[in-house]
């Protein structure tokens, strides 16, 4: 007996022009538990960048759903991903966020493991009067079922029964390529992790990253600052890449961007941004055009908010940000965020990227707080009520077409659906991509 009925939760009737999501998805504790098991612990999730553990015996820790994990580079220079828990009593083996160690010793009873996860010592094993059955057991750290890398992006799955990572990422790989190709040396995280929480469901963040509709109404205070700064041109303030673009402005003419949805829940919201010195990548603009052609280079400068379902988002707009979404409760979410940057860019470009980042992306900045406060206000409205269906997934439905468009063709992208938009269209129909992937991962518990 399956505990939930899909059509009660997601009203997906394209022929009738209907796509609606029930508020229960943002609130129901039983549904949340099932999401953790099936969405986060039942399929591929993003776990980190390979450059976070670059040298032999480097490691970093995190979570897949509720399960603590460690990503460790062994002595043979191979990255592996293990459950970060001692097989003996389940104690979390490594407490640090990151570091370098050849050996990890459990603080409780002293079992020791090497950087390849192999058990190297069970304290007083010989005098322990263990049974043969115990000796026959595997005492190494449990490797996660699947672990893979694409262009330095690391993904893992606790469930072995998943498509290959290549299949899972599908067309989204081409969008990771756009980012990774910005430097021949690849990508890195700028030192300094910023972590925050908000008291609302994780899907608020999932949607917001792809939500062009909110920008001018949620962030007018920030937009006013940008306008003022642009008119003054003092050296004290930082130029804004968003301020130098008009894809979001009411008065913009013509195609300003659009959306694309891909298999497995990955979505892109994009906007036209000029190749301009307001973008930290400008120093490489000519070099990138030579290496990849002008069309592809221009796409590298476009605003691109990419979600790799269910927990990774890369926002390239005001600067470049990597976000990892970690649900803690139906109404509590943790966000880990970093400035992601091409390696070996000039010191000036790096500083510029960082300055643009802080004001916009930080929970201590001038834009993100207005988002997260809205998430919390939305969570209040998710309470059970007579009219359970949200009306927030309907814009753009009649503009959405199967397959791609001329903009996608420029970089050989083949989305499942796409929308080409002017500045005011602000498609919401792309969110359907999230919920269809959500329903697929939840299929076992949805009738």
């Amino acid at each position: 007996m399956k505990p939930f009925i899909l059509r009660d939760l997601v009203d997906d009737r394209p022929m009738d022009g209907v796509f609606r999501v029930n508020r229960a998805l943002f609130r129901d504790p039983a549904l949340f538990e099932l999401e953790m098991k099936h969405v986060f612990e039942g399929g591929w999730v993003f776990v980190g960048l390979s450059t976070q553990a670059e040298r032999p015996h480097d490691y970093f820790t995190g979570f897949i759903g509720r399960v603590p994990i460690i990503v460790s580079r062994n002595g043979d220079n191979t990255l592996q991903c293990f459950v970060n828990a001692c097989p003996h009593k389940g104690v979390r083996l490594v407490r640090k966020l990151c570091g370098n160690a050849r050996r990890h010793t459990c603080p409780y009873h002293g079992w020791t493991f090497d950087s390849a996860g192999a058990n190297r010592n069970i304290k007083w094993q010989k005098s322990g009067c263990y049974s043969e059955a115990f000796d026959a057991e595997n005492h190494d750290l449990a490797a996660v079922a699947r672990f893979g890398e694409y262009r330095g992006f690391l993904f893992a799955s606790l469930n072995a029964d998943v498509p290959s990572l290549e299949d899972h990422l599908g067309e989204a790989r081409k969008l990771l390529d756009l980012l990774a190709d910005k430097s021949p040396d690849g990508l890195e995280l700028v030192p300094g992790r910023v972590c925050f929480t908000y008291e609302a469901n994780w899907k608020m963040q999932l949607e917001n990253c792809a939500d062009q509709y909110h920008f001018t109404s949620t962030h007018p205070s920030y937009i006013r600052i940008l306008e003022q700064r642009a008119s003054e041109e003092t050296r004290e303030v930082v130029r804004s890449s968003i301020g130098a673009a008009d894809f979001w402005q009411e008065t913009a003419q013509g195609v300003s961007g659009g959306t694309m949805t891909f298999d497995h829940g990955h979505v892109l919201n994009w906007g036209v941004m000029p190749v301009s010195s307001a973008n930290a990548d400008f120093e490489r603009a000519e070099q990138l055009a030579r290496a990849f052609g002008e069309a592809r280079r221009n796409w590298m400068f476009n605003m691109r908010n990419l979600t790799v379902f269910p927990n990774m988002q890369i926002a390239e707009n005001a600067s470049s940000q990597l976000r990892v979404i970690r649900p803690l409760a139906p109404d509590l979410t943790e966000m880990q965020t970093w400035c992601i940057a091409p390696r070996n860019e000039s010191a000036e470009a790096r500083t510029f990227r960082i300055r643009q980042y802080e004001d916009f992306f930080n929970p201590t900045g001038m834009a993100t707080p207005d988002d997260t406060v809205c998430y919390e206000e939305a969570q209040l409205g998710m309470a059970e009520q007579e009219r359970p269906w949200l009306q927030g997934h309907a814009r753009g439905l009649m503009a959405s077409v199967e397959g791609g468009n001329s903009y996608a063709d420029m970089i050989d992208l083949k989305p499942v659906r796409s929308v080409v938009a002017d500045a005011q269209l602000c498609d919401e129909s792309l969110f359907a991509g999230y919920y269809r992937a959500w329903a697929t991962r939840m299929a076992e518990v949805l009738a």
Partner: protein, 165 residues
Amino acid sequence: MTALGPTEAAAFLYREALLLDRLDFDPWLALYTNDCVFWMPAWRDDGTQTEDPDSELSLIYYRGRRNLEDRVKRIRSGFSVASNEMPRVAHMIGNVLSEQVDDATIRLDSSFIVNVQHVRINRTHAYFGRYEHDLRLIDGEWKIARKVIRLMNDVVPTMLDVYGI
């Protein structure tokens, strides 16, 4: 006024805190030099903070009071949902140590707790950490030339603005 003994130095910090508690931003901004540095580093890992704001991320980094003025403008704009229902705040400053670097420069170390009550959602949070103030004597008045806020509990619940630190 030129000399600033330990008692007066501490009083200077208390005055800044009081202005923030009162959300009285104009005299607060006036405490800063035009070219002031206002810096809240991020944490690199469990134990170390970012040290070079030009190559590492900060929670806040501004060079120039002009940027703080922008923050205040946004808070007052009426167009920021995070700022429309202003939280109530109370700063507690302690462990003030002062060191006269030269005739025109004083370095202050202190500890802070800032209790923030978000009226919007009836939620209180206490931020804590250490301040480092560099005061400079300009036209007979002591001004903040550099303020570093070392935030210890850096996992920010929802949002944090300049009046909450």
